[in-house]
């Protein structure tokens, strides 16, 4: 699921007053919970003009699960006790391989050593290698190849073992 897809879900939730939304597909699971339902009934009634004209959803109170896509404040990714996240150390573009022709650094199911390069973040034309912070198995690759990612955004899930 791409950032823009999640964003449009969030807009939908906001417009139609959905409080909780859970989607599970082959790419993973997304669970979005709005802390309160500020715009549900009131400002954005049915028949509201399109988003471009519509009121900007402002925060009521900083909800723990505020509707942000990606990033450290994203929809929470549920981790088992023996799982850790590989997070983006910077803003940039996520690549799974060193070049378009190369093989991805890792696939889901692969085992990795601590310090092994698992992906690249391109920022300012520089390719920054992201290393596994611990040995383990790649159980899920969250980011899409070529996707814009922000600081702290979850890229992969590693499982110890």
């Amino acid at each position: 699921m791409e950032v823009r897809e999640i964003k449009s879900l969030v807009v939908l939730m906001n417009e139609y007053g959905i409080i909780e939304l859970e989607i599970e597909d082959k790419k993973g699971k997304v669970r979005l919970v709005r802390g309160s339902a500020p715009n549900a009934e009131a400002s954005t009634a049915a028949g509201t003009p399109a988003r471009a004209h519509g009121p900007t959803p402002l925060p009521r109170r900083p909800a723990p699960a505020a509707p942000r896509s990606g990033g450290p404040i994203a929809a929470p990714i549920e981790l088992a006790d023996n799982q850790i996240l590989v997070e983006s150390p910077m803003v940039g573009t996520f690549y799974r391989a060193a070049s378009p022709d190369s093989e991805p650094f890792v696939h889901e199911g692969d085992s990795v050593r601590k310090g092994q390069t698992v992906c690249i973040i391109e920022a300012m034309k520089m390719m920054n290698e992201v290393e596994a912070t611990a040995a383990g198995r790649v159980v899920r690759i969250i980011a899409e190849n070529g996707q814009a990612v922000e600081y702290g955004q979850a890229l992969m899930v590693l499982e110890a073992g």
Binding site: A42, S43, A45, T48, P49, H53, G54, P55, T56
Partner: protein
């Protein structure tokens, strides 16, 4: 300077008056009904008095209660705001008799302008163009109405001589309709104003509502502060007002402004007032009535003329002289007001409730007049106008851009508002071009609930 001023109103206009008094250094007394005990104007005033139960007749329209409050609490002036007792000649007179300065015109001017056929006669004599219509004191019988209708040619508008707020108003497109609708309109007038007297006016197609702001002191100086185009109306409610009117030429503005000043001068009017005209597509304009009070939409004139009309109304009531001559009045940029109603924007039903997430817009050229606050319960008993957003910029296009940005920022939860409707209008090509008349909003009526001609056209008479 007044010792203490009682604000005989509630909501946004009460806040507006209290702010003006604070700037002038005049202590204020707020009055409120038991339904308004938590209202913002009660908290903002220096003192406040409960004057009765929720029903307006027993509180905000209760003259003895309000006068007693003013006298008991030591006020020497009363500002009526708009609505409620603001155009009640008896109230103005009772204030003066009790030694209270009424902030507004003299009682006889309120009464004179409240008698619509009489106002028409006076204006006609003074050379102010009026719409062709019933002559003399009006008509009460269908027979006389039919004679007038034939003389004028259809369509005609049936109006109540003591009218206001669109009550007793119907459009008749032929003699048959006139015969059918006249008794209905007269019945409404009897119920609302205890008056069977009606009058007919020629109905103008595709006309705009263009009104001029008047400012007059007690020393016979009268100026106008330009016009407001209030054509964007829904039934009895103005919805959007702007200044300048997008189609007015400088020459026509001068001509209409002079007519408006003449209308006030001929009767010796004082304080603030508004002369309303219909502007036909051919550039002809016609006096329809004069409102003898501050208007809801006074803010747009304040923005383009840099004048504080509420402070001026208080200064005039204290007998001060107008400090400005007509030729010194200058106009800067364009201002647009958006009335925010607590209503379902689709179904146009009032939407009372408890306000949450109140986040008004701010910044350059953005003015909000509201009595809302987070946690406030909008009562069911009164007008659903809860806020006014006024934007000002160099041009009408820039003001519209500013309005779109501001309305997108505006958050009011807990109740439904017409903010989405305003955003739709701001993306309507005809509105953007300035090409509209008083029937503009009919296109945004829900198709299932499109009102009858008679209803929609009553919009022509919004106060």
């Amino acid at each position: 300077m007044f010792k203490k001023l009682l604000v005989a109103n509630r909501g946004t206009i009460a806040i507006r008056i209290i702010r003006a008094c604070r700037e002038l250094g005049i202590p204020t007394v707020a009055v409120f009904s038991t339904a308004d005990k938590d209202a913002l104007h009660v908290r903002m005033a220096d003192e406040s008095v409960c004057i009765g139960p929720p029903a307006a007749e027993d509180s905000y329209l209760n003259i003895p209660s309000i006068l007693s409050a003013a006298l008991t609490y030591g006020a020497d002036a009363v500002h009526p705001g708009y609505g409620f007792l603001s155009e009640n000649g008896d109230f103005a007179e009772a204030c003066q008799r009790s030694g209270l300065q009424f902030v507004g015109p003299r009682a006889r001017h309120i009464r004179l302008m409240g008698d619509k056929p009489r106002a028409r006669r006076i204006m006609k004599r003074a050379g102010v163009p009026v719409l062709p219509g019933s002559e003399g004191k009006g008509v009460s019988e269908v027979r006389d109405a039919l004679a007038d209708g034939k003389r004028l040619g259809f369509p005609v508008l049936i109006k109540a001589a003591a009218g206001g707020g669109g009550k007793g108003m119907r459009i008749a497109r032929d003699a048959g309709e006139l015969e059918r609708l006249f008794p209905i309109a007269r019945g409404e007038s009897e119920a609302a104003f205890s008056s069977r007297t009606m009058y007919l006016e020629k109905y103008l197609e595709r006309a705009r509502h263009v009104e001029f702001q008047i400012l007059a002191d007690n020393h016979r100086s009268v100026i106008h502060l330009g016009e407001r185009d209030c054509s964007i109306q829904r039934r009895h409610q103005k919805v959007i007002e702007e200044s300048p009117c997008p189609v007015l030429t400088a020459r026509l503005r001068e001509k209409m402004g002079k007519a408006a000043v003449r209308a006030a001068e001929v009767v010796g009017y004082s304080n603030v007032g508004t002369v309303e005209f219909l502007l036909a597509p051919d550039g002809q304009f016609y006096f329809i009535e004069m409102n003898t009070r501050i208007q809801v939409e006074h803010g747009v004139t304040e923005m383009v003329t840099s004048t504080d009309l509420v402070k001026e109304s208080i200064r005039m009531a204290m007998g001060e002289e107008l400090g400005i001559r007509q030729r010194a009045v200058t106009f800067k940029g364009a201002a647009i007001e958006f009335r925010i109603y607590a209503e379902d924007p689709e179904r146009h039903l009032p939407s009372p409730g408890v306000v949450s997430n109140h986040h008004p817009p701010g910044g350059l050229g953005v003015r909000v007049e509201t009595a809302l606050y987070d946690g406030y319960r909008v009562p069911v008993h009164y007008d659903p106008l809860i806020a006014k957003l006024i934007v000002h910029s160099d041009t009408r296009d820039l003001a519209m851009a500013r309005a779109r940005a501001a309305l997108r920022e505006y958050l009011i939860d807990g109740i439904k508002t017409n903010i989405p409707l305003h955003l739709k209008i701001l993306h309507d090509p005809d509105f953007i071009r300035g090409d509209f008349a008083t029937d503009f909003l009919r296109r945004y009526e829900p198709s299932s609930a499109r009102p009858s001609d008679a209803d929609a056209l009553a919009a022509e008479k919004a106060s």
